[in-house]
Symmetry: C2
Subunit: 319 residues, 2 copies
């Protein structure tokens, strides 16, 4: 397998972009690398929310209305857990539970997270390659005025309400890229790296905190397009707490704030047509700007954006 | 709480006897101590099958036909786990899962197994006191000709088919009785210790392997009835592999074999009317014999046997 495109993603925006590329590209041409900073242990189970969201989305099993988990899900175990006084702030559907039970058992047998993910993807009929960005644990933590919160505690239990002062990525500095991603970034068939419209701080940051990835992108961008898609449109996050977080961390709440975050790492930022007025300022940061419609809630829009980005990559190659 | 009766039990036979005593006695008069040798970790979850069987039975939630787990149970998570290639040899119902999720989470928070059990029992409305015999792990293992099997591997995955040459109770020699049981056995209100018609080697053995319990019973029996009920009737186990195991371990497959196992620890063995011909040989082992109908599949029969045993205790006290 010699992927032409490596896509880094996390969260719902990431899964949508991954779905678009998977629809637009043959399995051997695409490597999907997924954030593991949200991973955590809940009731003894190894839960990997970003991997699961990508997996369920590509398998067509995801609930598009709720935005996470299985469609047609049941909640028998979770509801009863609440009745028993057990933790119920993170809802585990009965079908979803099977993913975590399987992952936990296979990790306990000594399998790597990437091997477990490959096995799960195969079981749900996904042909494209989805890997965790690293097989080593990376844990995103949120510093607030008075405490340090685990990611899911912040994001789910406290509904991202606490004011963040700093985002930490425990374990990232000792983590390595999984081999599939390292090889894909190194090989001569690589045409572009895509960074999905995921939350830069929460979904992409944990991956960029892997020293190997950051230096690789810095090196790559001299010869290969590294294209990020803004998760911010008109000062609003497409989904989730990205805009709130940008403000709290002292950044401009706009596609320009996103551009500043990726400065030195990307060659192109894709922004919404409505944000075209920011293009010139963003170009001033040393990157090209591509304006288009980046709101992609439906599979058709996801495929359209992926195809448009692939065309952008082709035009860059021939330019 | 000054219990008059301490009941040691495990397995389905144990849960039936516990149910009978719970129906026949006020909560403050009874202490139920449950085997933990079957406990294991499955897919990351702390499963305590014997505690759960007693708990579900006393709460009236148990499936009496299947003999384990919840009645009206669903199997969504377990079936999907099998589809995903995860371990499915131990079936976890969706409602049952909630018990294990809650237990695992609370143990991870640092609660003891007895505190978790008290909390679960309270949540399902049980007023009688059910405790694990110990808060330290005891793990039953089965030695066969060529390997050493974890209990659930032997009992569930391999359906108790391997030929056992020895039963080991890892951890038992370092385990202590939980305080509730220690206090109940020590206090002057104690009228009798009952050992349920559970598998002596698999359900009672792990408890008797706690040095503190064995020496306490040896001391107690001089002044207090210690009454075991045979799980063997007419050379057959009432349920499970007790008869097969007795033979494999070189014992007589009868209530007499059970009596030999308990020799020096009990004052009375309760055997089935149909085994009355064994009474004289059993008495020769230094214990009294009480013959009655010991098959107790229904709650009414369970209560009847418990009441009969309480009458036996009373008659012993006045004798």
């Amino acid at each position: 397998m010699f992927p032409r495109i490596v896509l880094f993603c996390g969260g719902v925006g990431g899964a949508r972009m991954a779905n678009g590329f998977a629809a637009a590209m043959a399995p051997q041409d695409l490597q999907i690398a997924v954030n593991v900073g949200d991973d955590f242990v809940f009731c003894g189970l190894n839960v990997s929310p970003d991997l699961d969201t990508v997996m369920y989305t590509l398998a067509g099993l995801n609930d598009t209305q709720r935005g996470w988990g299985f469609r047609d899900e049941t909640w028998i175990a979770s509801r009863r857990t609440a009745q028993l006084g057990g933790p119920a702030w993170f809802q585990l559907g009965d079908r979803d539970l099977a993913t975590h039970l399987t992952r936990t058992a296979q990790l306990a047998e000594g399998k790597s997270l990437s091997a477990v993910t490959a096995s799960l993807c195969s079981a749900v009929g996904i042909q494209h390659s989805i890997v965790p960005v690293s097989d080593q644990p990376i844990r995103t933590r949120i510093r607030t005025a008075d405490t340090l919160l685990d990611f899911q505690d912040y994001f789910v239990r406290q509904k991202a309400e606490p004011v963040a002062s700093q985002i930490l990525y425990s374990g990232a500095s000792e983590a390595n890229l999984v081999n599939a991603v390292r090889l894909a970034l190194d090989n001569t068939h690589l045409q572009a790296v895509i960074i999905a419209p995921s939350n830069p701080w929460l979904s992409i940051g944990p991956m960029l905190a892997i020293p190997e990835l950051k230096t690789t992108l810095q090196r790559l961008r001299a010869r290969t397009p590294v294209i990020a898609i803004s998760p911010i449109i008109a000062g609003q996050a497409i989904k989730g707490p990205a805009a709130k977080l940008l403000g709290e961390l002292g950044h401009e709440v706009s596609a320009f704030g996103v551009a500043e975050y990726y400065k030195g790492l990307i060659t192109h930022l894709v922004i919404d047509n409505g944000d075209a007025h920011l293009a010139e300022r963003i170009r001033g940061l040393g990157m090209q700007v591509h304006c288009t419609d980046i709101l992609i809630p439906t599979p058709a829009e996801q495929t359209r954006l992926a195809q448009e980005l692939l065309a952008l990559v082709s035009s860059t190659a021939t330019a």
